[in-house]
């Protein structure tokens, strides 16, 4: 019994984290804070032992090896998740919110378990756990706006879950099997899968939960949120839809649409959310292209994105911890107060902007090269075009508005609080990890699934030159626009995205319907039937049983009957 339990626990790193999360419900919060670091480290030990683990077998989909060996996609995603879990654990060492601790552990564990799922039942089970636990992390913000954002987040993610379930049922009916497989989009249920993954991967116009929910969580919560859900969806797309050309168009739209918001947004956490959507665009294009180099690019970029997304949210989280705000209009002049934060924001910004010698450059280049090799000029131009906005928003705007430009209000600088040491350590560690693969790309590329491109030549003179041109000319544009006083001012505002359709559109339709129905009710109330109906109601209220019949007790009875039925079924003679 014990041996088989251990075997299950060491089959993949995720289960251990889930178990730690369950334990965290009962343990003191100080111990939980340590558990958030220790559990991913133990998970890493399990990850290291996976190579020789015979309980898992490899799964070949589209020439990509899944599950076994360190040179494959699944393990690379899992490594990224374990790394960011441990670092987010260090970052939130001073946090003692049990709700957040428990859900972070279970969320991380479930995401890793999704990676290692080999059948759709466990895939769906862990997939849904991630949706629910992550909604709790949004709610951990404990403000009115985080409550609303968490609800919207949960509704959209549960809808994605329902679509996935419909897809799984359809797939089972067709093939009589729950085994994971890749799709060609020639059956209806495959579109359900695509849509379900699309919601989670922030496809264009399904993405509004991303800039809505991430900025409303706690300073530590948004670090955790940015790491898992979307990358899990990218992994799912990689397994199921590698080589689907439609994804190239979707990916390009995804890269370009957030440009419209990145530069204008005042809230830095929303800026990062939009920039991340742009980054997922790169990955989706790479998956759509589906060549060996492109798949390497998608995996490398997902790995890198987990790291720098976490780092950028750590910087904004620390800013909130110190000054109470991560909005451009409130910040400024903090360079002397928070030199480490400035350095971390520069590393994060340079990484996402694909500055040479940072991990972002090492990963984005693969995707762009793959596009050039296939002569996809329009997609290539779209991605390069969109990268200009990312350079502006994160490598220039974030450091400039938070740290360099004169403070809007001198009080923010004088009253800025000290940032906990644990946060600084986490940021420095993550910054080092962001630089290391950029300098030694070949050891980094060994994490990628296709061995053929492990020796991809990254730092060639012409490549470095063109990339520096891209960055320096963008900076030149920024300074010129700033000198001409044309740069969009940063002030508190709401920029409506397509979410206006369901946050304002549907309620207004609902109000209209209500208006019609209330006038209908009025008409009905004055008729004779209504008077009869009214008499019946008062009569029934006089009868004891109908008066004392709250809905709650009905639910209890349903549960009791259900449990009894299951019991009878299981223990029938």
């Amino acid at each position: 019994m014990m041996a088989s339990f251990l075997e299950l626990l060491t089959a993949q790193p995720g289960l251990l984290l889930i178990l730690a999360g369950i334990a965290a419900v009962f343990l003191p919060t100080r111990i939980n804070a340590l558990l958030l670091i220790i559990a991913p480290c133990l998970g890493f030990c399990i990850w290291l032992g996976l190579d020789n683990n015979s309980t898992l077998h490899s799964l070949q989909i589209n020439q990509i090896d899944f599950v076994v060996g360190t040179g494959n996609a699944t393990n690379t995603f899992a490594l990224a998740f374990l790394l960011i879990s441990a670092l987010a654990g260090i970052f939130s060492l001073s946090n003692d919110d049990r709700l957040e601790q428990v859900n972070t552990l279970i969320y991380a564990g479930a995401t890793i378990s999704v990676l290692y799922s080999q059948d759709y039942l466990s895939f769906f089970f862990f997939w849904e756990i991630t949706a629910i636990t992550s909604a709790f992390i949004v709610w951990a913000g404990r403000t009115d706006s985080s409550y609303g954002a968490g609800l919207r987040y949960l509704v959209q993610h549960l809808f994605a879950g329902v679509l996935l379930l419909i897809g799984i049922i359809g797939q089972y009916q067709q093939t009589q099997s729950f085994a994971l497989q890749s799709f060609q989009l020639d059956h209806w249920y495959e579109w359900c899968f695509l849509l379900a993954f699309g919601i989670k991967a922030a496809f264009p116009f399904l993405h509004t939960w991303l800039p809505d929910a991430y900025p409303r969580s706690t300073p530590t919560g948004s670090v955790v949120l940015s790491a898992f859900t979307t990358k899990m969806a990218i992994y799912a797309l990689l397994v199921h839809f590698t080589g689907q050309k439609a994804l190239i168009v979707i990916g390009c739209t995804m890269a370009i649409w957030p440009m419209l918001y990145m530069v204008l947004e005042n809230d830095l956490r929303r800026v990062i959310a939009y920039a991340l959507q742009n980054q997922f665009g790169y990955m989706v294009v790479a998956i759509g292209l589906g060549t060996e180099l492109a798949v390497n690019g998608a995996v490398a970029h997902a790995f890198a994105c987990t790291l720098y997304g976490g780092l950028l949210y750590m910087v904004t989280g620390a800013l909130i911890k110190g000054t109470g705000s991560a909005k451009c209009s409130d910040l400024g002049g903090l360079a002397k107060r928070y030199p480490i934060l400035l350095a971390a924001s520069l590393v994060g910004g340079f990484t996402i902007a694909a500055f040479p010698f940072f991990v972002g450059f090492a990963s984005k280049s693969l995707t762009l090269s793959a596009l050039s090799k296939e002569h996809m000029d329009i997609a290539w131009l779209a991605l390069v075009f969109s990268s200009v906005a990312v350079i502006d928003a994160l490598a220039i705007k974030l450091p400039y508005f938070a740290f360099i430009k004169p403070a809007a209000d001198q009080k923010t600088v004088t009253e800025a609080k000290e940032i906990p040491l644990s946060m600084k350590i986490a940021m420095i560690a993550l910054a080092v990890i962001c630089i290391f693969p950029g300098i030694f790309p070949h050891s980094y590329y060994q994490l990628l699934p296709n061995e053929k491109y492990w020796d991809y030549e990254l730092n060639s003179a012409s490549h470095l030159l063109t990339q520096f041109q891209l960055i320096v000319f963008t900076a030149l544009g920024f300074v010129l626009i700033k000198l001409l006083k044309l740069y969009p001012n940063q002030y508190p505002q709401t920029l409506v995205d397509v979410d206006i359709l369901f946050r304002k559109g549907i309620p207004s339709i609902w109000r209209e319907l209500n208006h019609i129905s209330s006038s209908a009710k009025l008409f009905f109330a004055e008729s004779r039937i209504a008077q009869h109906y009214g008499n019946l109601r008062t009569m029934s209220e006089k009868i004891m049983i109908s008066r004392l019949w709250p809905t709650g007790s009905m639910v209890i009875w349903v549960v009791i009957i259900l449990v009894a039925t299951v019991m009878l079924y299981l223990w029938q003679p």
Binding site: L264, G477, F478, V479, K482, T494, V496
Partner: protein, 78 residues
């Protein structure tokens, strides 16, 4: 360091970067990549174009900060 000084520094860097192209063996995949300073011109052009587009886009999507939180006129009157 003032904005003006930064501007001239970046301008010099930009010109140097374009000039270096003649010294380095380039690997263009697309026809348009063969234009001297293509990446720089593309970035600069995209940036200026982007910022101007965004200024117009903001006119379209900008709302008060409490747009989603404040009750609408109709709700307030109810």
């Amino acid at each position: 360091m003032t904005m003006k000084k930064t501007f001239y520094l970046l301008l010099i860097a930009a010109i140097l970067l374009v000039a270096t192209e003649s010294l380095v063996h380039m690997h263009p995949y697309f026809e348009f990549e063969k234009v001297t300073g293509f990446y720089g011109l593309m970035a600069f052009g995209s940036y200026i174009f982007g910022v101007i587009t965004m200024k117009f886009w903001r006119l379209l999507v900008k709302r008060p900060a409490d747009y989603y939180d404040a009750p609408t006129q109709q709700e307030a009157s109810e």
